[in-house]
Amino acid sequence: MRIVVKPEVCMGCQICEIWCLVAHSMSKDILNAFLLEKPRAKPRIVVERNPSEYLILQCRNCEEPKCMFACISGAIYKDNGVLKYNEEKCVSCLSCVMACPYGAVKFEDGKIVRCDLCNLDPVCVKVCPNKALEVVS
């Protein structure tokens, strides 16, 4: 499976990003996640924005995942068709950042931040007010 954006209806509201953050917070509560939790959870979605355009990017869950091929520690692996990431094994060598052709792996505050597909039930897809995100197999 893969999450893809339909650019013709994506309006760049970034609500997917907001709820992605909440889904990856401790409290899972939007107010607490934003206002109280320190450090604030990191959204997994990549939002590209320039003055006139925007683009929402999720991990493509590639069939041939370069991030996984490049990973020197085995922290990125596939399980039943789904790319997974084991933070404990990761040494932050950034080989995955170097390899991911979509730039879907982020490196923030010394940590690799990457989409986990929310156990195959992606929050971003559910919350999109315009159905601009869809899961394709």
Binding site: E64, C67, V97, A99
Partner: protein, 425 residues
């Protein structure tokens, strides 16, 4: 005893090969023979030394992995020779194993330059588990260290040793650190990082002679003599190709392979640090000792060994490195001056692109490394970027900066072949 697939080696290329074979064929029998006792990740050695991971963490794939993938393993056993006529290999214990397809993934070995008075006990290399265990022990007693070679391995070792409290000097023949991949500006930043931590980097220099009293005394090219408790040599890795060479397989600087990872001999494939391969950007064949190149090479070999013809289409040098939390990613002809060079330096954030015919042939991104993989993709696609080249230098460059007409095409994944379903740790 005969196997359909025999793989010599158990590191990145070997694992890539096994995983590819299993994507195609769940039944084919596979034997993996390796001198190493365990399949661990050599790239993790510096992290182990620094204590970032435990010994357990070095394991790239656990033993269960081989059981689950139904791979027979003979680890800790050296291969004596290959007979390509009989399609057999002979192990050091005399055992003879037949193969239908053979992958040679014997890796590389540290290059040791000729130094007067140097003998094997005097220095450490920094490549294998044995190496690091030895260093770890030595570090406990040492107060100072000298590292020959300011490449990635040398500098990572230097960083690790500084963290351990040693007084570290690095000796480098070139006029700057990481000279093969970085340009002057980035080298300077890296040098500054090391200087700030008290590491002395001796450039345009090398060790001519080793002498000993309590400590080792090193005579340098500039005539200086320095004392040290610990000497490490990290000037590079060369292909470990003797086995192949002895079997009559063509070897230049490394084992010669084509895009399908086939050697000069039928049914014998090679991948990883032991080969030399065509660099799609530099347009020349050379050893490219990189983890991802090894994995991909092994993977491609795996497909071809299983009867699925497939090329390794894009290969070039690419590195991701970090020193004292300063991150650098480079690819291709990253420090070339030949072509149109655009760059932007802001504090320690640095971006440099080398363009030829409007296409990216190399880049250095340092500091905020962001999403450097996008540029590798642009290189691979040979995309004309002159239309938006100014935007490349923005920290937050993304697909949104690529004209819409081509953007969505780029965002489609081009699956050439093979779908990775599972890859366990």
């Amino acid at each position: 005893m005969k196997f359909e697939n025999v793989i010599i080696g158990n590191s990145s290329a070997a694992i890539g090969c096994v995983e590819a074979i299993r994507e195609i064929d769940s039944d084919a029998d596979i034997l993996m023979v390796s001198a190493d006792r365990q399949a661990y990740s050599r790239a993790l050695i510096p992290y182990y030394l620094r204590g970032k991971i435990e010994l357990e963490g070095l394991l790239y794939r656990r033993q269960e992995f081989f059981e689950r993938l139904n791979v027979e393993t003979k680890f800790g056993i050296r291969v004596e020779r290959i007979d390509t006529n009989k399609k057999e290999i002979t192990l050091e214990n005399g055992e003879i194993v037949g193969y239908e397809k053979l992958l040679i993934a014997t890796g590389g070995k540290p290059f040791i330059p000729k130094i007067e008075g140097l003998n094997a006990r005097d220095f450490f290399t920094f490549q294998t588990l044995e190496d690091v265990l030895r260093i770890k022990e030595a570090v406990e007693k040492a107060e100072s260290a000298v590292i020959l070679g300011a490449g990635i391995i040398g500098l990572m070792l230097a960083e690790a040793l500084v963290e351990k409290g040693l007084e570290v000097k690095v000796v480098e023949l070139a006029d700057r650190v990481l000279a093969p991949v970085l340009d002057k500006k980035t080298s300077e930043i890296v040098q500054r990082k090391f200087a700030e931590k008290g590491v002395e980097i001796l450039l345009n220099n090398t060790i001519l002679e080793v002498r000993r009293n309590e400590k080792k005394i090193l005579r340098l090219k500039d005539g200086r003599e320095i004392e040290t408790d610990l000497l490490a040599i990290a000037v590079g890795v060369v292909p470990n190709a003797e086995l192949a060479k002895n079997a009559g397989i063509k070897v230049n600087r490394g084992i010669v392979v084509n895009k399908r990872m086939e050697t000069s001999v039928k049914d014998v494939y090679a991948a990883g640090d032991c080969v030399e391969i065509f660099d799609s950007i530099a347009k020349t064949s050379r050893p490219i000792p990189l983890w991802i190149t090894a994995y991909m090479g092994g993977r491609i070999a795996g497909f071809n060994m299983s009867g699925i013809p497939r090329d390794l289409s894009f290969v070039t040098a690419m590195n991701s490195m970090h020193f004292f939390d300063y991150y650098i990613i480079t690819a291709g002809l990253s420090n070339s001056e030949d072509g149109e060079v655009i760059s932007r330096l802001e504090g320690e954030n640095y971006r440099r692109f080398v363009l030829r015919d409007g296409k990216i042939v190399g880049f250095i991104i340092a500091g905020k490394v962001g999403r450097a993989g996008i540029f590798t993709r642009l290189m691979e696609e040979e995309l004309e970027v002159s239309g938006f080249k100014d935007k490349l230098l923005n920290d937050n460059f993304g697909y949104v900066d690529i004209p819409e007409a081509i953007r969505w095409n780029l965002l489609k994944e081009k699956v050439k072949f093979g779908v990775v379903r599972d890859a366990w740790i």
